[in-house]
């Protein structure tokens, strides 16, 4: 893939990037994918070259539903990236996908980072972020041939452990 620019950041995804190139190629088609071990069949949230469960180096990309639950989050009140300053406060969420939750051990899941955005890809209001909220992947157009996976709240009941912080006034 060529280089892309998003908010002044140059994203370099060379042809020999065996971890992330396929992820962003799929995103450019509006599909969320994770790696699946071709031997034991388990999915992994981080698209590394080997299977953390069986050490196999054989893998394939697998499309997932794109639905999940916020597992943890942070609200950026102060950013050190100048091109993000006009967005504060904004939420970065760690989303646990519906697929393979609690497998192969109870603490495991497929967890992916993104911003919590609204229907127009503006940052979602801080009071709407929380652990346990249901979300789905959406794909934010950046440049021709590149879309950034993001997360949007969906109208489903909270799931599992729920918590949110108190948003300061003003």
């Amino acid at each position: 893939m060529p280089n892309y620019t998003y908010r002044g950041i140059t994203l370099s995804i060379p042809e020999n990037d065996s971890e992330y190139k396929g992820y962003f190629e799929a995103a450019a088609e509006g599909r969320l994918v994770v790696k699946k071990c071709s031997d034991c069949g388990l999915l992994r949230g981080e698209p590394g070259p080997g299977c953390p469960w069986c050490m196999s180096l054989n893998w394939e990309w697998q499309q997932v539903s794109g639905k999940g639950t916020i597992y943890s989050y942070q609200v950026v009140a102060h950013t050190v990236i100048p091109s993000f300053r006009d967005l504060t406060p904004f939420a970065i969420v760690l989303v646990e996908l519906d697929e393979q939750r609690g497998q192969p051990t109870e603490f495991d899941g497929l967890r992916i980072t993104g911003n919590l955005v609204d229907d127009d890809f503006n940052m979602e209001k801080e009071e709407n972020v929380g652990i346990g909220k249901r979300v789905e992947a959406v794909f934010q157009p950046v440049e021709d041939g590149f879309m950034l996976p993001q997360w949007r709240l969906i109208d489903e009941p909270d799931q599992g452990f729920t918590w949110s912080h108190q948003v300061p006034e003003g």
Binding site: R7, Y20, V80, T113
Partner: protein, 409 residues
Amino acid sequence: MAGNPRDKYCIVGVGETEYSRASGRTTRALGAEAIRNAMNDAGLTPDQVDGMLSYHGGDSTPSTSIQYDLGIRPNFYMDCSGGGSSTEALVGLAIGAIEAGMCDVVAIFRSMNGYSNVRIGGTGARASAPIGGLDLMKRPYGLISAVQQFAYTFTRHMAEYGVKSEDLAAIKVAHSIHASNNPKALMKHRVTVDDVVNSRWIIRPVAHLLDCCLETDNATCVIVTSAERARDLKHKPIYIKGVQGRGTKPGGDFHYQHGPISRVAGHYIAPRIFDLAGVKHEDVDITGCYDAFTYTVLLQFEDYGWCEKGEGKDYVTSGIINLGGRRPNNLSGGHLCEGYTHGMNMVIENVRQLRGTVDDYCPGALEGDHTYDYAEGGCRQVRDAKISMNMGWGTPAVGSSLIMGNVLS
């Protein structure tokens, strides 16, 4: 445990530069000064130091340059990539190098213009460089700085265990009390819980400005040698009881994929260090628990077993960690108040505490004559401290620890 080196090696010299936000010098100049100060502290001449170890993040000067500046010729040196939790681990590697017969006396240093040149958050020159690899999954979302890298762990812990901003603030308050009796500290004034929770937010819900450490220009050094060699040096030897790390939690950089997210690396190495050192928690008089942020302190206290999981908030607000308390933490003020050194200042402080010659405001401090009056601008020497423990933090997934003592086991 086979080959347990307990009490066979010592820290014999410690030294540092001024902590500032504008050193006006290179990391080479800073490094040379810190090593020289540690050598003078130990009473070592250049021909007696034959090992050098350093750690850096592409922001320092190699041993092979600084050796020239001090007339040292190492038989062994390594400049390792690493940040927080490296100090303790390199103490262990120095022991290994000496044990292997590669050298006899090792100077371990960290030199950084951590405020005026290369800042940890990746701002400045680094921010405009193209990103690739695993940064692709973070930076486009505005996730870059250290507190952000740790925040998923902090937030989830806060949610699961009901930690409040005021609990975290108690850590900054304690360290600021200690720093107020440290002439070297960058931030010497005492702060209150209100000061911390009313400082501006950085990352909600886990860090206000005053929950974050002070990026600092400085260099630091500790010198390791055998207990035998230590006998005819200047100070009472400070014995190394045990060292562990850098140990990790499952998943390493991708720790948030596996295991309880609110558990940190200390959980996995804690049993090993206490076993190796032959001490129990209640034997430890002072701690040096890495305070990149207030939250790193609370998590490590829990996972090293100073309290039950989830009770860190009670431990840090109980007074135990304050000067005059049962087991004070970060007596120099640590990263939150003395200055950010990637962990070495906390080891230096514990060496001085165990010697009984902490450099506070007591007129006879360096001769060990302390008032034990802990009022602001006074003493910070802990009475009769015999055992210390340092707990280094790299990330939620990376940690190390070091237990030292001033008497043989």
